[in-house]
């Protein structure tokens, strides 16, 4: 169990909350954090960029009327915390609420078997050397190979004027591999990652295979020809293909976008937004998954939220502030990058539940189309629903068969149209790790799905 009192004594937290409300306000919160991490990389077979960081600090927030007053400081001494409280309250003039006495609420952090900080740095270096050897050994055309290792432990404590006092102890580890393949003038890259809300035990089962996967992607693309351009059926691969759903639907369900009218899903609750074969969740509780936490960054327990049930939109994703506005309960989606950021509604692990279709059959039914296996990333404007995805590994489908690899493809479309155009969901399933950016904050998120087919979508390639 996590002990918030190790970061901030309850009597100090109570004093800070009282000061934060000194000039008025309905709600006050202090978020304290201590983090320590290490990263290293291998490039040109040389171990480099060994970095060790440690930070501690706190953010104090006061809500009054429709306004959030926020201040953050480095350091966790009572003086630092009180300074943050005074700064948050400085511009406030409102009626004052009395804070309730704190009641400690225990949380159960995700189990960590081997704390990365206790593993000698040499073992982490050895892991990267193994990746390097296997990536370079994957083919004579692998011209370059890079890999990185990152670990971080974040201990957080949250206290608020409603009496909540809780915390979490989060450890994440992740490795990434990137390969560059070259044949004459043709240069292609491939990348793969492995990460979790886990300790060093994450690397127990052949972590080096991600190096070969990255290399294989780059090598495959050497044979690629330019991607086609035009509208056609698109089959999206499992795992990282879930980025598509994350971008085109997940962001539009975050309650802050909804409440501002800046989402195409406004007013669509209870409506059929997809065909009945589609059911989707956001689940911050998945054990040891990359986007999981015990409690969110406002102290609300994380939960499994069904967002689409048999094609019908059934829930948005709320943090405390947006839940308060809509008079509903938080769905445990209040997340922040660090004590220097305000919590906003964010996804945790978002996925399309497995369907009935065999992945092979989903492809076999396509006469001419595009098979997008993984994406370099994507972007969506929640207000208009317009999105774009860069395809990092894609193939042409001809006569129901995957034929040749394509380079330089982009998928482009509109969320509502693309979501309703999903006409097959595979019975396979895989989760992948990602880092999601919103409002200038990056948080770890999981994305997942099996093979999914979109009836028609614009593929932007160079071959007109």
């Amino acid at each position: 169990m996590s002990e918030p009192a190790e970061l901030i004594a309850p009597e100090v937290a109570e004093r800070v909350l009282a000061r934060a409300l000194a000039n008025g306000g309905e709600f006050a919160e202090v978020f304290a954090e201590r983090n320590a991490g290490m990263t290293m990389a291998i490039d040109e077979s040389r171990l480099e960029a060994v970095q060790a960081g440690a930070e501690q600090g706190a953010g104090v927030r006061v809500l009054s009327g429709g306004t959030t007053y926020f201040a953050h400081v480095d350091g966790l001494d009572p003086d630092d915390l009180e300074r943050a409280a005074d700064e948050a309250a400085a511009a406030l003039r409102a009626e004052r609420a009395e804070p309730r006495p704190l009641q400690a609420v225990a949380s159960t952090p995700h189990a960590i078997e081997q704390r990365p900080a206790e593993i000698p740095a040499e073992r982490k270096a050895a892991l990267l050397r193994e990746l390097d050897e296997r990536g370079r050994g994957a083919g004579a055309e692998i011209a370059q190979f890079m890999a990185s290792y990152a670990e971080v432990r974040r201990e957080v404590a949250i206290a608020n004027s409603e009496g909540l006092f809780t915390g979490d102890d989060r450890t994440r580890a992740r490795i990434g591999a990137q390969a560059v393949a070259r044949r004459g003038e043709t240069v292609e890259t491939g990348a793969e990652t492995l990460g979790g809300h886990r300790g060093f035990e994450l690397f127990g089962d052949d972590p080096g295979s991600i190096a070969e996967q990255a290399a294989r992607k780059a090598l495959t693309l050497l044979d690629a020809s330019p991607a086609p351009a035009g509208s056609m059926p698109v089959v999206v691969g499992g795992g990282f293909g879930g980025v598509l759903f994350h971008e085109m639907t997940g962001h539009g369900l975050e309650a802050d976008h909804i409440q501002k009218g800046a989402s195409v899903y406004v007013g669509k609750l209870g409506e059929q937004v997809a065909q009945p074969l589609l059911t989707a969740y956001d689940d911050g509780r998945m054990p040891n998954e990359w986007g999981s936490d015990a409690v969110d960054d406002e102290g609300a327990p994380t939960q499994k939220t069904m967002v689409i049930e048999d094609g019908k939109l059934v829930s948005y994703l709320f943090d405390g502030l947006t839940a308060r506005r809509d008079d509903v309960a938080s769905t445990g989606n209040g997340r922040r990058e660090s004590f220097r950021h305000l919590p906003v509604p964010r996804m945790t692990n978002t996925y399309i539940a497995p369907g009935d279709a065999e992945p092979e059959a989903i492809i076999a039914e396509v006469e001419r189309g595009f098979y997008a296996v993984s994406f370099g990333g994507g972007q969506v404007d929640p207000a208009t629903g317009d999105f774009v995805f860069g395809v990092s590994e894609g193939y042409l489908i001809e006569g129901g068969r995957v034929t040749r690899p394509c380079r330089g493809a982009t998928l482009i479309g509109n969320c509502l149209q693309a979501l309703v155009a999903i006409d097959a969901v595979g019975n396979d399933f895989e989760m992948k790790t990602g880092v999601c950016g919103k409002a200038g904050q990056k948080v770890p998120v999981g994305t997942g799905q099996g093979h999914v087919r979109i009836g028609a979508m614009t593929v932007g390639g160079t071959e007109v």
Binding site: R46, L47, Q51, F70, D74
Partner: protein
């Protein structure tokens, strides 16, 4: 902040390092977010931290922290020295030696920043929103109007005798307007401005720009797929220039990860495209007396007369490439190791104004927004395909709005296809700190319907 930096250098040497360098930052900032005529959030932030590079002979390690107590600094030095022992030897990893700065008087801090009250900057954000809403009845809302500022003090000290400190300030405001068409379709438009202090911002102009960009897109359709002349407005051109700046960093070049590798002196652009990196431009937001490792900033010609004139170097890549540092060691705060990055990228204005560029394009597409740059561009080959929106150009004039299309090419082909640079240069914070006018590209693949 020079004192904690010096203490961190001493602590790192005491922990066994053969050389040490500390980069210390102290920052105070504010942010106001306005929505619906009210202040949605008001943030007051203070930040301080130190990042230390430790050398153990030819091995380099890094550590950073926020605890500036004697104990915290001792621990920081020990962690940096320990990190160095894990790294492999690298003969090029040595620290820079002190050098005379090219300038001593750069005015980077605006005293009016501290003199402007939080209530005044909150009013500025509210005005941005108000103007965006009032400019055009088709503006249905504003996602958010944001004002933010920061005043920073940065210091560097090293065991080789580097010691320097400077102050800088900056602020910006932006908003995203939502316009609605008669059929209920929605479009967004961004307006922004930046300066060293709030006096440099024109809230009305920012609000108007957002409204005009959003309403201009109402009723947008897809263009026909074809190859045609394309005009990139400054906000779009800056993103591409930022990518080009990354490709011109010596690190990417030396490691064979740049489309500009082995092209020094070669023809890489049309002569109409002239590009400099200028770390001393008094109007540039990345200007400073010295870079992220204490080497004086300077002005470097990158592309002139259509040829690639230089790459950008920090100390590491200079050692490796037997060149001199161009003062291009960048840092994203105290948490990161310095690495090669552009300072201010400046594209020289050309001879035609914006209307002149449209006339010269004749039949083509104006691109006012791109999406998916981080995923749609291969940084090694420079091949890109990115989502875009903008306007059709017919008979040399702006015509109907266009969305949901892609533009595709590669960075070098695009530079060679530039026909004209405009006269409408402005500073844009996308892709780093870039000042560029609109650019007319002779031919690019446009994929729509």
């Amino acid at each position: 902040m020079i004192d904690p930096a010096r203490q961190a250098v001493e602590a790192t040497l005491a922990a066994g390092a053969s050389d040490a360098e500390a980069y210390a930052v102290e920052e105070a900032g504010r942010e106001v977010r306005a929505h619906g005529g009210e202040v949605e959030s008001l943030t007051a932030a203070t930040k301080r931290g130190v990042g230390v590079r430790a050398w153990a002979g030819a091995r380099l390690g890094y550590a950073f922290g926020t605890d500036l107590s004697a104990e915290g600094i001792a621990s920081l030095g020990a962690r940096a020295a320990e990190a160095a022992r894990v790294a492999d030897e690298d003969e090029f990893a040595g620290p820079p030696d002190p050098a005379e700065p090219a300038v001593t008087a750069l005015e980077l801090a605006d005293p009016s920043l501290a003199a402007t009250s939080t209530a005044e900057v909150a009013e500025l954000a509210l005005e941005v929103e108000r103007v965006a809403l009032e400019t055009d009845s088709r503006v249905a809302g504003v996602e958010q109007a944001v004002y933010a500022d920061a005043a920073e003090r940065i210091a560097i000290a090293s065991s080789r005798g580097i010691a320097g400190e400077y102050e800088t300030s900056s602020c910006y405001a932006y908003t995203q307007a939502l316009a609605e068409g008669k059929d209920g379709s929605r479009e967004t438009g961004l307006g922004f401005g930046l300066g060293r202090g709030p006096a440099a911002l024109d809230p009305a102009a920012i609000g108007r720009e957002a409204a005009e960009r959003a309403t201009a897109m109402i009723g947008a359709g897809k263009p026909e797929s074809r190859s045609c002349p394309v005009v990139l407005d400054p906000t779009v051109a800056s993103s591409f220039i930022g990518l080009i700046g990354k490709g011109l960093g010596a690190n990417a070049v030396q490691r064979g990860r740049s489309p500009f590798a082995e092209m020094l002196g070669a023809e890489v652009a049309d002569p109409a495209l002239v590009l400099h990196d200028d770390g001393l431009d008094p109007t540039g937001f990345a200007s400073s007396p010295f870079d992220g490792e204490g080497v004086p900033r300077r002005r470097t010609a990158l592309i002139e007369a259509g040829r690639l004139q230089a790459y950008l170097f920090d100390t590491y890549t200079a050692h490796r490439g037997e060149a001199a540092s161009t003062g291009n060691a960048g840092r994203s705060g105290y948490r990161s190791l310095p690495g090669v990055s552009a300072s201010n990228l400046v594209v020289a204005p050309g001879r035609l104004d914006f209307d002149g560029l449209l006339g010269e394009a004749g039949e083509g597409v104006l691109v006012t927004d791109v999406a998916g740059l981080h995923s749609g561009v291969n940084p090694v080959s420079g091949v890109f395909s990115v989502g875009a929106s903008g306007r059709a150009i017919r008979g040399g004039e702006l015509a109907e709005p266009l969305r949901e299309f892609t533009i595709a090419s590669d960075l070098v082909s695009m530079l060679k296809a530039v026909r004209e640079a405009g006269t409408d240069a402005r500073w844009v914070p996308f892709g780093g700190s870039v000042s560029t006018p609109s650019l007319l590209v002779g031919a690019m693949t446009v994929a729509g319907s």
